[in-house]
Symmetry: D2
């Protein structure tokens, strides 16, 4: 039931790495993953190493469902990596759960991955031709197998050698018997940060919020092209590959993915979202539309709505109540409920919109299938006008770097003008933030991937034949 | 893990009743319970009747976990009642799950209950003495067994006869082979409303938001002392008992329990919460404290913070990010994480509080064990001052009418002054809304139970010997 | 899948009672139930009492599936009763699981039952009329509720008072706070024995084999009409009601139900089964049929086949291999496998039957749906002739005392002659042991119920309107 | 609980392969595995291919627990292989469950294995050195990965190339997109047979009993060194490697492993077991011991006891009742029950042994820990003398070819004479069948592995350093 009522891009996963000499490292990883749960709810796993051997536990479900005291208790060691996986419908869930763990000629190795390689089909074919059997459709297994056969006299060299072949988005945590490596692709697509743990040791995580949950201080990004080594000796930073010029960080971490307490590329996400709202208010005001109340689509659009209200002077208020328990259910609504669709997830707070001209703020429109019903909910509750304002430009192109935007066929903005979309959803007006406005709010002029808005991919992608990670995994 | 990080009163349950001649009534009940999930997460159940026989399915878990397509498919009929149960630690969960279903001399009967009888020990003893065996510690079973032996030539009379004996809080849905009855005690402690379904039929629910999720129109309260009959013939309202004078509706439905889209006693909850914030801002301003930002403790205090900000002129902003996936976990934090306690549930958005004088709005303080850690989080994030403002008066007395406030021993305000509490939690100032301020914001001068604030119970309760429903069920 | 490949009467349950002052009483009950598992595989439960309070755990599944270390660890006390329940398709399993536990005016009470009351509809109606609600369709709940309102100054008196009203089969274990009572109806339908535990204390069980598994010495039957009290004071035997004249013990405990190590009515079951085979061999020899090998249908007919072979002089051998893992499966065979039906459960040992005249021994024919396929298996394996010999007379009437024989409609011998049955199953000859031959092998001339063979019920049963326990529970 | 009460060698697994053009192939594989359940109860899996793609489902548990209708329904195709896995305590069950499925440069491949390679450590090291990562400790994964990189222009050639490197026991079913291969090592250690399905198509299985359950006709062994191809074109037999001279078939399939309806090496297992008993009776008679009754240890020794009784003229009877529901339980017995140990699994039928000189037949003594308690049970039941007769010689050496005999340390016959063992178990006499007697009963003079009796391994095994498959998998 979750899908039809949600219209956001989907992130592939969250990753965590820990070296904790004086703590229960598995529980540290657990609470780190717990803080990254919003990046993936399908499966979770933790691998640990104690200098000698390595153990792994992973399963389908939320982090709190997968791990029980007795499963965590069996994961002893000082090093850990963990992964929480986004739900791709229909995929063979348990086989694609991460981390992947293998034995290599250089000892055991575990790996967890956030991103998507655009050349994985080619790399996969190369491995097969070299006589390596592959047991999943995951590009993560491809990466693991490449590391197993990578030349080089130490793991940093072996990782570097593979990085030269990997094209696409990859933020990785890699664990050997006595080391955790945090690795980020030269384009810097997906986030990865490291920090110092208060009791000694280090942690790496997809978001700084997870690091702060663990008590980390002195947090820094793993920069594009870097390999950061977390070991008992030190935190060692190696520039394994030169950063791409320009870099191609994902702007959607600001717009939607990251939890608002994340600091992405040195910028506080909540504040960027407020500025996106402020910037959007400017555009909106230019169009001379008048309104009585600003309401966010909860929860992601709250900061932008706060910023919008502040600049526009129009009061901020809640317009929707979101059912906090919306999760996966297998129960189909009855016909009469199906017609009301989105109402199972959102109810309107009538008194806050009755007789009012409402501006509804949302972060993005992907397929465009939930905005219409939400607008109808507002009108049924007595809203006089419903204006929609979106904190990013229209999404016209799929992502091949690890975000599920859908395909060309189901992106509503691919073949429709803004006014056609407005008519389709039934809004009185529809305002998208411009690319320039968005980047101005972010405060960076370059270094960001804008492919989903303008179709210029930072890495050569044969768009006609390329597959997103999501199509593959539903095989 | 959920308990130590949460400090709110706890509601016992949500109930739903449906007569739907042209719909799959079990699925209607399912989605109704789904919208009441916030009122209880431990167990859920649905009973249906088809005019001939009755079926029941209930189990431990969230509504979406308890019901699967095949379990719902076996629940055929036109009448349904449902229940979602609040989690009382340690109780024998499945045996206390509701609805209760029995056969009586007048045919099968099912019942679901929100509330707590203060004379259940006495009624229980009476039943035992009369030779009735009881298989649970629940006052709901007591009510069911009393109905089974109640005199009267029809169910309305039998229910009325029992109501005379029942003292305390009870909002009930009762189902026979061909009828659903919605019943509310004469004091009106707990909410219950009915509405017309769009495709014909009627529904009853603890909250109007659930009725609206089902598409209900023409919603009205079941008034204190009323029995409302939902049948194929009509919606019949019977004033079974005279309403108590004064009534004793629970003010905490406004303060905390109800979802903000609920209309309680004719008043929109979100708007009352805004006014609670406004009223609190007035008190606060009187104390001449200056501040830079108003932040809510998410999610319940958001409307009050909006209202507070509007009146005080101090800007509203998010200060905390709440982990949306906080649920029951059996994993104990490591020592270093335990010290950071509440940080596993909340992270501060540093940039929004750094260097600022913060007013943190919360709805209530019960045990007082989470406020201190949250204030420390804010100070660690650089807040210059932390002022706490609470949208109700200090809670000094336990509830015996179905809300888990804790006992005298663990209510922090029972033996401490406001300033002692302030010192205990480490705030720069602590403001409670006064009883008068609270009732003024509600907009009613009487008809509400204020026992937890002032200790005057609307029904004679031998406080020294009485037990709350929560102590009993942990037996 | 289990049903179509099995054609035996079905027993309702096994019960156990323990007073063990120096042992973990729940684990004693567990291993006792474990030894009674063959009497019921659907559900299992154990209730314990410690002199003060009482605890219960029951669930659907085999004994080893229902109980885990942590569930047993919570069952502390010195007294225990347990129950293992036979699988009646379609019944609401968990609600009918036993023991039943209730609170009464005389303290908590738990009860487990093997048998079936023939007047339960009447007793049930009486309770309902008296204003008692009933939450299951089980006659066990009826018994429990009657005990809750039974007059008498102690439990022995109360039990005796109820026994006067109970008509039918009941072997019971009843537990109060500080006592276990073992109760057997005056007809003695179903077995129940008691014994002394080696470390002090006593146990009661449906079969003496279970008592011996617990190490019991000095085992004796609970005689018809007796109440035996197991307490810290002593083992007290009370003749609560006079035994019926004649008694009506179930002869099928010898023929099929009991494990061969049971001693029923003072007679060793394995030896009686050998004698049944010997007696059958005499009948068979009279008919001058010649044969080369005697094979049993495993496992119940092995002792009879041994006895048959000994008397007839024809060699005994295995003819079938039984799949030991046949249990409940939800997988339907393919069409080609369905045709081979019983072959999924039994394979023939070809070499032992090839070219031979085979006598196949079985204990009974109920519906007559598996014998035909088994004979075909033998013929396909090359058996020259297949003679069938059955160790009891044709079953022509249903049982109303707790055994599932099926109804008149599905009893093959109800309207068919022996020769018609022989033709239906395709045997070369079919020999049933005569009633006289059976009783001679048992070694008792009276005291046994023969209703299923001759239709004379030991208690007045209105056969046309009566229901077996099995029809009821599938409601 | 299962282990302490059982003292048999343990088999690793059962395998099945099916090509069924007109049947639901997954259900065919399911019922085939169902008939092989006795060869492994820990995990089960089925992979199917439909000419295009391949699907796999495997999990921990019995075959009937692992597969549900919806899991089987998703396995569509015409080709299937399946596996049921023996329980090795402590191993990471799900990761070692079979079949293994991978993608190779020549398309997808699935494999299931019964046996153990003695050179797997060396092969494993070779793969790692060649840059192949391995994700389990299983030699089956090693075989799968070797196939993925094996040269050859078709799968038969690739399999043959690998067979040259594989030393040890392997009966395999291998599936490609449109073929199933049944492969047996040149020594012929473990069984594997093929047959024609009645509706078209072919099946392969570890035991002929499973083939007959599926209705197979024209069954033949896959001979040592053969690869048999099951495809839509034909059943093709290829002698891939020359059979070893001499072959080394496992004699324990006769003694204990196989179900008695299996035909192993052209010999009917039940008949060989009878002859083992007959041969043992000859040895026994030579020692001039007199006895009154022959009893088997159920179930495996029944045929031998029948044969023994026939030759010795001493009557055969049941002496033990075995609890049919003995399975895995996590409940520890109480102290008093622990002392009675084996009594939880077996009860004696007192009347059959009281005052008698008993000969107890068993198939083998491995650790020697259950025989003593069983003899005590018999003596407690009144047996005058207890003579033990074993249908194979003393087991003095571990097996490295896929059977868990234990290690030198725990084999009771490794350092003890027959008389020391007799004294240890407390028997009046102890007779082992001689090697010659055993082979005479089998009816073959060579071609069988006798390593566990005499220590001469058919393949060079460095006994001091070699590991059995069981040690490995508990890593």
């Amino acid at each position: 039931m979750s899908l039809p009522f949600d219209d956001h891009p989907r992130e592939e996963c969250g990753i965590i790495g820990v070296f904790a000499p004086r703590e229960d490292v598995a529980r540290m990883a657990f609470f780190g993953l717990f803080a990254l749960q919003h990046r993936g709810q399908e499966a979770a796993g933790i691998a640990v190493a104690d200098g000698q051997s390595m153990s792994l536990y992973k399963n389908v479900g939320l982090v709190t469902q997968v791990f029980r005291p007795h499963t965590l208790d069996e994961l002893k060691g000082h090093y850990a990596i963990g992964h929480t996986r986004y739900s791709t419908t229909g995929s063979p869930a348990i086989r694609n759960a991460q981390p992947f763990m293998i034995e290599t000629m250089n000892g055991p190795l575990a790996l967890a991955h956030n991103g998507n390689l655009v050349n994985s089909a080619e790399l996969r074919q190369r491995l097969l031709t070299e006589g390596v059997g592959l047991s999943s459709s995951s590009d993560t297994e491809v990466m693991t197998m490449m590391l197993a056969r990578s030349p080089g006299k130490n793991w940093t060299e072996r990782i570097r050698a593979c990085m030269k072949d990997w094209r696409g988005a990859y933020s990785l945590v890699i664990m050997t018997r006595e080391c955790v490596y945090a690795v980020r692709d030269p384009w810097g697509f997906r986030p990865l940060s490291v920090g110092l743990l208060p009791n000694g040791g280090y942690a790496a995580a997809s978001e700084t919020g997870a690091l702060r949950t663990l008590g980390c201080e002195a947090v820094r990004d793993v920069n594009p092209g870097e390999v950061v080594t977390l070991s008992k000796h030190a935190l060692v930073v190696t520039q394994a590959l030169k950063p791409a010029r320009p870099e191609a960080k994902c702007v959607f971490e600001f717009v939607y993915f990251a939890r608002p307490d994340h600091v992405w590329d040195g910028l506080a996400v909540h504040q960027v979202r407020q500025r996106l709202g402020e910037s959007l208010a400017d555009s909106f005001t230019d169009s001379r539309i008048e309104a009585d109340v600003i309401i966010p689509v909860p929860d992601s659009s709250v900061p932008a709505a706060i910023g919008f209200a502040r600049v526009s002077g129009i009061p901020y208020n809640d317009g929707f109540v979101k059912n906090r328990y919306v999760g996966r259910t297998f129960i189909e609504p009855t016909d009469s409920l199906r017609k009301r669709g989105v109402a199972l997830k959102f109810n309107v707070i009538n008194e806050n919109v009755l007789g009012k001209r409402v501006v509804m703020i949302d972060d993005s429109i992907v397929r465009g299938n939930t905005m219409g019903p939400m607008i109808r909910l507002l009108r049924n509750a007595g809203a006089k006008e419903v204006h929609v304002a979106i904190t990013c430009p229209p999404i016209k192109h799929p992502c091949f770097m690890g975000v599920d935007m859908g395909t060309y066929e189901n992106l509503i903005a691919h073949k429709r003008t803004v006014d056609e979309i407005r008519a389709h959803i039934g809004a009185d007006s529809l305002t998208f933030l411009s690319l320039e406005g968005m980047m101005r709010a972010v405060g960076r002029s370059d270094g960001y991937c804008q492919a989903c808005f303008i179709g210029q991919y930072p890495i050569g992608v044969d768009v006609l034949s390329a597959k997103t990670g999501f199509e593959k995994s539903t095989k």
